[in-house]
């Protein structure tokens, strides 16, 4: 998918993460802040990259403000942000396909 416009998903509540995706040209650029950075920073990074790969997003700037979200929440927020950026978050989501 191609990130067409800036989109946000998630909140800054505990156990959640706020994910912002913005169009960009030069591959994936990530900015991460997390309340559990020292223990989970690497894993969060890996999950976000893997999720973007499943969605076939090649170029975007992704900003994550993590408040201790579990992997399943991180995935959901990244996916929602990407689908929103293309205006396709409301229907015919490929559950079990690109979203997995």
């Amino acid at each position: 998918m191609k990130v067409e416009k800036t989109a946000v998903a998630g909140t800054l509540e505990s156990s959640d993460a706020m994910v912002t995706v913005e169009p960009s040209k030069g591959g994936i650029e990530m900015e991460l802040t997390s309340s559990v950075m020292n223990q989970y920073g690497r894993q969060i990074k890996a999950v976000v990259l893997e999720t973007l790969e499943h969605l076939e997003v090649k170029d975007c700037k992704v900003t994550i403000v993590d408040k201790g979200a579990l992997d399943c929440t991180l995935k959901a927020r990244v996916e929602c942000a990407v689908f929103r950026s293309c205006g396709k978050s409301d229907k015919n989501i490929p559950w079990g396909g690109a979203v997995r």
Partner: protein, 304 residues
């Protein structure tokens, strides 16, 4: 991925606790409080502009979180909204045990949902017929059509009344003696029993009114409800305590079932237990008592 066993249409459903499907902190382990079913809500709890986010959140929760023996039901948005089709797709793809149809008013509503569920089961390679249905009756029309709704599909396991909306339609308010919902509850119960499915009462919203909650539970029990919808974990225990059989009832049920198995093996149809005449008609009730006792930790035998 946590494979969930095939949902059972008839199981113990004393407590169904509502949870906002959009709140990660809530849904990650709501099952620890011991409710029989959790009800992940895509409808009223989720703001109109977060319906999409809630589905992504729900999908991964269903796929990742081990809910154990707790049944997982999803309340989808009403058929008069643009959301329900995608709601059904995500429920089926994620493997929810059942779907609660909001604002159900007719057998056709059930059939409409069932068709969408079947289509989703085919699309996502889910065993056809796996996904169960229940209906929430929220309007006078829903109550009038209760029987046709209860019998509209083989997937239907129960109906529930939604007090807030129903009272609004009727122009009434919550009454401590329950008179405002008495007829509706009664009609729904009769329909459900006639159709052979379960019946659940509405939520009690004043969390500080312990007495009022208990009074409503006692009335629910007297009327014959199978369970209740809840909004807070603290409501679980009172329901389970109240619906639990007494020790005397458990002892009696055990004797009846044991005697029945013995006698029927010997070809006897009618017999006495403690001086009372017993026949096959008593058995389902006695077995239900034992199942309930087992769930309450009061019985650990193998009769049920």
């Amino acid at each position: 991925m946590i494979p969930r066993p095939r949902p059972r249409r008839f199981r113990l459903r004393r407590t169904m606790m509502f949870m906002n499907a959009q709140k990660p902190g809530l849904i990650k382990d709501a099952y620890i409080y011991g409710c029989d079913s959790i009800m992940l809500d895509l409808e009223d709890a989720v703001a109109e502009n977060q319906k999409d986010a809630a589905r992504f959140s729900l999908y991964h929760a269903l796929k990742t979180i081990d809910y154990g023996n707790t049944e997982v039901i999803v309340r989808i948005n009403g058929l008069d909204t643009p959301h329900w089709q995608e709601d059904i797709r995500v429920c089926v793809a994620g493997g929810a045990d059942g779907i609660r149809i909001a604002k159900c008013e007719s057998a056709q509503d059930v059939i409409t949902v069932e068709n969408a569920v079947l289509a989703a089961e085919k699309e996502f390679g889910v065993e056809e017929g796996r996904t169960l249905l229940m209906a929430a009756l929220e309007s006078p029309k829903g109550i009038i059509n209760a029987y046709e709704i209860c019998t509209a599909s083989k997937r239907m396991f129960g109906v529930a009344i939604s007090g807030g909306d129903f009272r609004r339609c009727m122009g009434t308010h919550f009454q401590r003696d329950g008179v405002d919902l008495l007829v509706a509850r009664g009609q729904m119960l009769i329909a459900a029993r006639a159709a052979g499915i379960q019946c659940f009462d509405t939520v009690f919203t004043d969390l500080d009114d312990d007495e009022g909650f208990e009074a409503e539970l006692l009335q629910n029990k007297a009327m014959g409800f199978d369970g209740k919808s809840l909004i807070n974990p603290k409501q679980i225990r009172p329901v389970h305590d109240l619906l639990a059989p007494t020790e005397k009832e458990v002892l009696w049920a055990k004797k009846v079932v044991e005697a029945y198995r013995e006698q029927s093996a010997a070809g006897v149809g009618v017999f006495t237990v403690d001086g009372k005449m017993i026949d096959i008609a008593f058995i389902p009730g006695a077995e239900r008592t034992l199942r309930l006792a087992k769930a309450c930790g009061m019985y650990d035998g193998d009769l049920v």
